[in-house]
């Protein structure tokens, strides 16, 4: 049956650029199709979006219930925790909306439908990322935006142009970092199809972690998400700088601005892992 090698691999800069453009166009096409099909069942869509909104809202309700009993957690006030919550939630929400469907790869390998995608003249990555595009995930983004909007006027920051720009920068880099984690997790499923849940530890688990101040966690855990799976660059490091809190690891100050570099490195690594996985894919047999 079809393997990764049957997909054309153009060489050279122009070929690559054309390939990316083709992939993006196909992605847009598939996304539009799924959005139209979702909106056909309007009530169901509204319910699922509200549910998605509420599911994440529960996390924040838990945080507010905690703060009904305390003034600060790990030296952070409620607006500061809300700022962490909002920035992390937006990053994960956007990554989940854009290519969260990729975690369905294991199922497609098991039932053999990945082969159908391989036969189409569109990059598999674009197809599977747009597969069953779930507009309801906008619920999480909306909820995180509301929390962030509540937090921004309440945190004590001496806003300058640079500091204002750091907030959208965090969202973009954070989205790229979570997107890389989603992709790497999917690539891992080429080898272990049933292990889809492992990546939840890093995506949803990472989000649960980043909602709270780094001062709350053990140093080893903070080191792990700084050096090993550098989720700390999603919001922790830039937020510590913005809020004027000392870094528990005592890293040099310029590290706080490495977000874009880390995001680019992670996306490259995840892309390589994806190619490796796809190339090694040998279908289910007959």
């Amino acid at each position: 049956m079809a393997s990764g090698r049957t997909v054309a691999e153009p060489r050279g800069g122009r070929g690559r650029a054309a390939e990316v453009a083709r992939g993006l166009a196909a992605y847009g096409l598939i996304v539009r199709m799924w959005v139209r099909s979702t909106l056909a069942y309007r009530t169901s869509f509204v319910m699922m979006t509200v549910g998605n909104f509420a599911a994440n809202g529960l996390d924040f309700v838990a945080i507010m219930l905690m703060f009904s009993q305390i003034e600060s957690l790990g030296g952070f006030t409620l607006p500061e925790v809300a700022f962490l919550y909002g920035t992390s939630g937006i990053a994960l929400g956007l990554a989940d909306l854009l290519l969260g469907s990729i975690e369905g790869l294991g199922r497609r390998i098991r039932d053999g439908t990945l082969d159908t995608l391989l036969l189409r003249p569109v990059p598999v990555f674009a197809q599977i990322a747009a597969d069953r595009f779930a507009l309801r995930r906008a619920g999480r983004i909306t909820q995180a935006l509301l929390v962030l909007g509540w937090a921004l006027p309440r945190i004590e920051v001496d806003w300058t142009v640079g500091r204002v720009l750091m907030v959208p920068m965090m969202a973009v880099c954070g989205t790229a970092i979570f997107a890389a984690v989603f992709t790497a997790g999917a690539a891992f499923q080429f080898w272990a199809q049933d292990a889809a849940e492992v990546q939840n530890s890093f995506t949803y688990g990472g989000n649960a972690l980043l909602q709270y101040p780094p001062t709350v966690f053990a140093k080893e855990l903070v080191r792990g998400v700084t050096y090993l799976v550098p989720l700390a660059f999603v919001n922790w490091l830039p937020a510590l700088r913005l809020l004027g809190h000392p870094d528990p690891l005592g890293l040099p100050g310029w590290v706080d601005f490495l977000g874009p570099v880390v995001a680019a490195l992670m996306c490259t690594g995840a892309g390589l892992a994806w190619r490796l996985g796809l190339r090694g894919y040998r279908s289910t047999g007959s």
């Binding site: 549910g51 219930l65 709270y212």
Partner: protein
């Protein structure tokens, strides 16, 4: 007996998903660590919050992770399959079988819960006990009471999920309801925050709802917060909700099977 066979079959079925089980244990453990550290910070600020010491709060965290799959704290747990069978009309075949629908699915759910308690419960709890100081009992009797309490909790969880699944007889697409009931389950079981920590009147009300029987009572039994009279009251509370909700399930079931009209004839 046929129901024992169903339970055993369900146990074996879930036992075949080995990699998925390992992946689940990994995820439960990671979440356990994250929540444990936030609770340590919370109890550092407010020692004895909700009547728990820090070790008891940590025990709650790891009990919740251990029971997450067993008691289906996030919904689902195999009954989404029943919901799908009702939606597609396959349920008509099930109703022809010489077995009771509720008992059949209850047996299947108990088999699943049994496997997941062993496969997904023991390991996270062991890791938690190794890394954090937990308030675990030293005597076999308390562990026995805990297991009984877990069984009652699973019965209540099943009864609630069965009602949600049966709602598909009336709603064409039950996925919205399943989502809402999953959310309610996460919040009112104490999964997001122990019910004893909820402030004021809210805290008292949530401890009377059926969801409290699923996680809060078993956790309190395990860490010895409920002993003597409290223990008996806790078990009676659980058994009461289990009996009431299973009976309600029977009523709804007979109403549903009387009206069932499979699509297309």
């Amino acid at each position: 007996m046929v129901y024992a066979a169903v339970a055993a079959g369900s146990f074996r079925r879930y036992a075949t998903y080995r990699i998925a089980t390992v992946a689940g244990v990994f995820t439960n453990t990671v979440f356990g660590f994250i929540v444990a550290y936030t609770y340590i910070a919370l109890w550092d600020e407010r020692p004895h919050l909700g009547g728990y010491g820090q070790a008891q709060a940590l025990t709650f965290v790891w009990t919740a992770q251990a029971l997450l799959a067993t008691a289906a704290l996030m919904g689902g747990g195999g009954l989404d399959e029943l919901q799908e069978r009702i939606r597609t009309g396959d349920i008509a075949v099930d109703l022809y079988r010489p077995a009771d629908l509720q008992l059949w699915w209850l047996a299947a759910d108990l088999g699943r819960a049994g496997l997941q308690l062993l496969g997904r419960g023991v390991a996270p709890m062991a890791v938690g006990a190794l890394v954090f100081p937990l308030a675990l009992p030293g005597d076999a009797l308390t562990w026995g009471c805990f297991l009984l309490s877990v069984l009652f909790g699973v019965l209540v969880s099943f009864a609630l999920r069965y009602l949600v699944a049966l709602a598909s007889f009336w709603l064409l697409d039950g996925s919205g309801l399943a989502l809402i009931s999953g959310l309610a389950c996460m919040f009112f079981t104490g999964m997001v925050l122990p019910l004893r920590v909820f402030p004021g009147g809210l805290g008292e009300v949530v401890q009377l709802l059926p969801w409290a029987a699923i996680l809060q009572v078993p956790a309190d039994v395990l860490m010895g917060v409920r002993s003597g009279d409290g223990l008996v009251r806790g078990l009676v509370f659980q058994a009461g909700w289990a009996g009431a909700l299973l009976a309600l399930g029977r009523l709804v079931q007979s109403a549903a099977t009387r009206k069932v009209v499979v699509h297309g004839g």
